[in-house]
């Protein structure tokens, strides 16, 4: 890859689930001017108090290398893994999408939801809340299609990701 080419990377970070650890990670990104496209965090191992942070970022190869090195040297960080480089991975995001519409638009929104395998998790006479799970691209496409049909609000979780196959962090 060219040294100046900017690419997107999904990075998983295993951290001690202690006060301030998220602030350290976010502070590192803002302080050094790195980009955060999405960030999710939750405890994944209660017995060892470890959380997994998944951050989607972009930069030149040198910047991505820096981001990983900077993350690795934070004291509460156990492991850093670049899922984009380590082979194929599964990336999933969940979104809740509120559409307020009536008549033909309302029917069309249901039809598209069906195609995307989105579920209506709430409905009133004039609105739906759809739940959709998929890759960020799929969710982007769904939201785009809902725009002219009365899209009024979205809430997205950000990306959770994991390597395919037997590879682990």
């Amino acid at each position: 890859m060219k040294e100046t080419e900017i690419s997107k990377h999904t990075i998983s970070v295993l951290v001690d689930n202690e006060a301030g650890v998220l602030a350290r990670v976010i502070g590192l990104f803002s302080g050094r001017g790195y980009n955060i496209e999405s960030l999710t965090v939750a405890e994944v191992d209660a017995s060892s108090h470890q959380s997994r942070i998944t951050v989607v970022t972009s930069g030149t190869p040198m910047v991505i290398e820096q981001i990983k090195a900077q993350l690795s040297r934070l004291v509460p960080v156990h492991k850093v893994s670049d899922l984009t480089l380590s082979g194929p991975c599964v990336e999933r995001e969940l979104a809740l999408v509120k559409v307020i519409a009536s008549g033909e638009k309302r029917v069309e929104s249901l039809r598209i939801a069906d195609i995307f395998k989105a579920r209506a998790v709430d409905a009133t006479n004039s609105s739906f809340v759809f739940e959709i799970i998929g890759s960020p691209e799929k969710i982007d496409a769904f939201i785009k299609l809902m725009e002219p049909l009365g899209l009024s609000e979205t809430s997205r979780t950000g990306v959770a990701a994991i390597s395919r196959g037997t590879l682990t962090m």
Binding site: G20, M62, Q66, A69, V75
Partner: protein, 587 residues
């Protein structure tokens, strides 16, 4: 083993003792009174009362840099902690091991805007290597020991432990250092063998090699500096040091090209520019070293050895990046170089040295000392000559005098040079010297400072008096913020906006008011006498030397320019204005 239950303050003190701490630089206040009470009751740890918390951190830095040990600071909550922030940032930028204990309001008041509450861990997160807020007495001892481990291992740095007052009072179990295991932070010290072999093959095939070494070598320790020196002599390669690395290799040696970078020597910068193989050891390609990155050493293959993975490929992409402690890696390099009987082709190396001698012939640091008016460089040179047979430590403030000290005082050993490199903190010099003198009571400790810098921590004169610390402070008084004036002259059409030192105090009277000797020197003919007299005085001295107020610091690579476009200055080209819009926006 039966757990020992102590008070929180006793745990802190015991942990300090078990970590080998002998001295703490601090300043009391409400939130840390339980600790001060504990300090009062014991005599294992000495407390040095500074007069400002920033100075406490700089003193701890001076102590740490001159001993290789961790410097320890104790300050109160709120303003005590915020005053320490500049010092912590300074220690972070220069990778100096410091543990700073800050008081905090009791845990039940945290978040209530209590009196003297500040979000200390929030404020210091970006300016420490790591920080802790202890909310659970059970974790106090572990946190203390872990802080020392984090501060001193890997790439060293400052660590803050924020201690709520109730935690200092409550009972807490004590753990010995050996009972604490570090779960995540265990930096790699051994370098990869394959990479080291590759790097040596590259070096052996070089025609124009150079070693570029920085503060990482000094942090790695005296042994690392010794091995570096042996390796340099064995290979016959020229070596240059960064501002932070001075003393890692003896300045008097013929293979030494001097300091590199913005105010480095012509030969060092030209050799960096023209080399074909560069070995960077514990140096981080700082912008003060590289100049314009687009033109930095364009034809070389680069090897970088650093304990911090994030220093590698940060500013300058390298061909081989070896993560490890430079001391360990250099030992391996020595062994393998000998075992494989590597040798750099003599003819190539000779002609490289011929080229270097040509650059040396410019005598880029030369100056003419007239009969009367004192050149600042001359003060540094004379004091160097007069202290050759004493154990001498030098600290500086920030500005032209700092660069002149770096250029003209030849450092032969590591740990004898303390300056604020990364942050460039005016006000560093005197408190750092204080810390050095506490660590080395019998040594000569000199602080080179400027008329502007000295005012930034002048209150520490009282600390010098109280503890009878015989620090010799030499003001290179040009009545200007000289470095600012120089940039204004070269880049801003000689518009000397706010850079004149107006209303300076009478430093002789000021010294006397603080209870020690003040001296002046205004004429070159009197300089040696003044310096000699100062060195002989058994106590602190401020020597105010009136120096040429127009003198500029050369050589200089203007910001944004490549290494081979240095300004050599008055002797050769005069003080020419730098015509560069790009340079004007850079720092």
């Amino acid at each position: 083993m039966a757990e020992r239950i102590l008070s929180g303050s006793e745990v802190v003190l015991q942990a300090l003792v078990d970590q080998g701490v002998e001295v703490v630089f601090g300043y009391p206040g409400g939130a840390v009174l339980p600790l001060y009470d504990e300090i009062f009751k014991q005599n294992r740890i000495r407390h040095i009362l500074v007069r400002h918390e920033q100075a406490a951190v700089h003193a701890a830095e001076g102590y740490a840099r001159s001993t290789g040990k961790v410097g320890v600071v104790l300050v109160t909550s709120g303003p005590g902690a915020t005053n320490a922030v500049t010092g912590l940032t300074d220690a972070l930028m220069d990778s100096i091991p410091v543990v700073c204990l800050t008081g905090q309001v009791p845990t039940h008041l945290i978040g209530n805007d209590a009196f003297q509450e500040a979000d200390t861990t929030g404020i210091t997160r970006p300016c420490t290597k790591h920080n802790y807020l202890v909310k659970d007495s059970a974790k106090l001892a572990r946190t203390m020991h872990e802080a020392f481990h984090v501060a001193s291992s890997g790439r060293p740095g400052p660590v803050v432990i924020d201690l709520p007052k109730d935690i200092l009072v409550a009972k807490a179990p004590y753990l010995e250092p050996s009972q604490v295991q570090h779960r995540t932070y265990n930096p790699v010290v051994k370098g990869d063998r394959g990479q080291i072999e590759e790097a040596l093959e590259l070096l052996a095939s070089a025609k124009k090699p150079i070693l570029y070494c920085g503060g990482g070598v000094i942090n790695s320790g005296s042994q690392a500096c010794k091995v570096l020196t042996e390796f340099t002599r064995l290979t016959g390669v020229p070596i240059t040091l960064t501002l932070m690395g001075l003393g890692a290799y003896p300045a008097s040696d013929k293979q030494y090209l001097g300091m590199l970078g913005m105010h480095g020597t012509y030969e060092a910068n030209m050799a960096m520019h023209d080399c074909d193989v560069m070995i960077a050891v514990g140096a981080r390609f700082d912008d003060r070293v590289t100049g314009n990155l687009d033109f930095f050493s364009p034809g070389s293959q680069k090897v970088q050895i650093d304990i911090d993975q994030s220093s590698i490929n940060k500013n300058v992409p390298v061909d081989i990046g070896i993560v490890g402690d430079v001391g360990h890696v250099l030992e391996d390099m020595m062994k393998i170089w000998k075992a494989k009987q590597h040798k750099i082709e003599a003819k190539a190396l000779d002609s490289w040295w011929d080229e270097i001698e040509g650059w040396r012939g410019k005598h880029c640091l030369s100056y003419k000392q007239p009969k009367d008016i004192i050149k600042p460089q001359h003060v540094i040179r004379r004091l160097h000559a007069l202290t050759r047979d004493r154990k001498t430590y030098i600290t500086t403030d920030v500005g032209q005098h700092q660069m002149w000290a770096a250029q003209h005082f030849g450092f032969e050993h590591p740990h004898e040079w303390m300056t604020s490199g990364g942050l460039g903190t005016m006000g560093y010099g005197m408190p750092a010297a204080l810390g050095v003198q506490v660590a080395h009571p019998d040594a000569t400790v000199i602080c080179f400072t400027g008329d502007a810098s000295i005012m930034m921590n002048i209150q520490e004169c009282a600390t010098l008096t109280q503890y009878r610390l015989p620090v010799k402070t030499v003001i290179l008084n040009n009545r200007y913020m000289g470095m600012v004036r120089q940039w204004q002259q070269l880049l801003h059409g000689s518009r000397y906006s706010e850079s004149y030192s107006e209303s300076l105090p009478d430093f002789v009277k000021l010294s006397e008011a603080f209870g020690f000797t003040g001296m002046t020197c205004n004429n070159a003919a009197d300089l040696d006498d003044a310096l000699t007299k100062m060195l002989e005085i058994d106590g602190p001295v401020i020597l105010d030397v009136a120096v040429d107020d127009k003198e500029n610091c050369y050589p200089m690579i203007p910001s944004g320019k490549p290494h081979n476009e240095m300004l050599l200055g008055a002797e050769t080209t005069g003080d020419e204005a730098i015509d560069s819009d790009e340079g004007m926006v850079l720092v």
